[in-house]
Amino acid sequence: MSLNWFKYASPAAFYPLAGKMIPWFYGAAALLAGIGLYVALVAAPTDFQQGDAYRIIFIHVPAAWLSMFLYVVMACWSALALGFNTRLSAMMAQAIAPTGAVMTFLALWTGAFWGRPTWGTYWAWDARMTSELILLFLYLGIIALRNAIDDPRRADRACGVLALTGVVNIPIIYFSVHWWNTLHQGSSVSLTKAPAMAAIMLTGMLIMSFAAWFYAIAASLSRVRTIMIDRERGAAWVGELKEVRNA
């Protein structure tokens, strides 16, 4: 049996499929977040060095992982959109950008709250923090470029070129910042020197990461459905949707 993947490259076919997938992903995200938060807040023991403040990492690390992962996913969709000129790929890239920006912001914000009791400061020019900040600027640049262009097709391709330029640059930025940091300041603050993590903490973090991942999928799919209706509002299939007719 051969599956025709291109069937779902059409917004008319993907819209109902996305609609069916969203509750499952939200459900999985909620379930995993419930388990993960139980592990994080109840099951995991208090860290003898950092006290309870370390529990922020159960939000912080998944957000930071996803912020980088989502940028790569967005760049992949952009590359597909530029290469095959598929509308849906560009819409997916557009839908992922805000979630990625939120995750980046969340990682920075929770990092600051973790840093205050642990390092004694909200912000240090640590290599990871600095590259995360630059990643936030990259996301905001893509969203701003999208908003500045009225023609959605031109915006798709312009943002695609920008996202691909960014994805080539991200490793370079990361290593340059890392190197700059080691050159400039002593390792007064370092995550790598922290004692090896207990298995239960790692489990909690992984569960929370999957929860965040499923949430990101569900949020992006919801957003892409809105984008599809908005962009294709002249098309017949949108007019036949029951939520559009009843509105």
């Binding site: 630059i134 600027f137 990259l138 905001l140 640049g141 701003a144 470029l145 500045a148 262009i149 097709r153 031109r154 391709r157 312009a158 070129v161 920008l162 691909l164 330029t165 960014g166 080539v168 640059n169 370079i172 930025i173 340059s176 910042v177 190197w179 700059w180 050159l183 400039h184």
Partner: protein
């Protein structure tokens, strides 16, 4: 009468029409796409240099901007020599970044506004080659003056001979990267609302590695590590940008023209 603005654009058009003839005749002799690259690059460099040199005042203002920004920092912080030596390379690099950013709209916006860019894109020559030529001309008129002025400004920051040499070398390798990356942003923001500040948001994060390695070169030299690693990394960045950026910029120009 806006005398300063009009003749230069008009001359640009005349120059273009003149070269259109030469391009048309040259096309007959073009046998393959590879043969068309170098004439196109040379033509674009010559044209943009001619245009730039006909509005020298504009170039002078951009250079003055660089000098003024660099002169503000001691006023805002301290004239103490040790502090200045520490800050100097970084300040000069940030000023170079801002000067590059300020000059980027010149790269395509004028040609876009009067339709020349469309003609360039329609020519039988590869757009990548023409865009590369424009980038080279942009660097020669805006990047190179910044490099040449750096030793002078470095003296104001109490940098010694070695540091000045390293700073100038780093700027010489780094500023072409700024022009190459900037060309992508300049083409992406063609004709958009608030394109100036948007350009800053798009491009400045991408400039970060250049800034770090460029300013780091002087630091490394002063601390005894030697600037070799930083300069090599800048050189590697320049090669990567040379290979990739013209294609991205040409793609962005085509997107803007659709």
């Amino acid at each position: 009468m806006p005398r300063s603005a009009f003749p230069s654009r008009a001359c640009g058009r005349w120059h273009w029409a003149d070269s259109q003839v030469s391009i048309a005749t040259a096309t007959a002799n073009v046998t393959g796409a590879a043969d068309a690259v170098w004439p196109a690059v040379r033509w674009a460099i010559a044209r943009d240099l001619t245009l730039a040199l006909r509005s020298r005042a504009e170039l002078g203002v951009q250079l003055l901007f660089y000098v003024i920004v660099a002169s503000l920092f001691p006023l805002a912080t301290t004239p103490e020599r040790n502090m200045l030596t520490t800050m100097g390379p970084g300040v000069l690099w940030v000023a170079a970044l801002l000067a590059s950013l300020l000059s980027l709209p010149r790269l395509f916006a004028g040609d876009h506004a009067d339709g020349t860019l469309e003609q360039i894109a329609l020519s039988p020559y590869p757009l990548v080659a023409l865009v590369s030529g424009k980038i080279v001309a942009h660097w020669l008129t805006t990047g190179l003056p910044v490099v040449l002025f750096a030793p002078l400004l470095g003296l104001q920051y109490a940098l010694d001979g070695d540091a000045l040499t390293v700073l100038t070398a780093a700027l010489l390798i780094g500023t072409p990267i700024l022009s190459l990356l900037g060309a992508i942003g300049a083409a992406l923001t063609l004709g958009l609302r608030a394109s100036g500040s948007l350009l800053a948001l798009l491009i400045l994060p991408l400039y970060v590695p250049v800034l770090i390695f460029g300013a780091g070169a002087v630091d490394a030299a002063r601390s005894g590590l030697g600037a070799g690693a930083n300069l090599s990394l800048l050189g590697a960045g320049l090669l990567v940008a040379l290979v990739g950026a013209p294609f991205a910029a040409a793609a962005a120009v085509r997107i803007a023209l659709d």
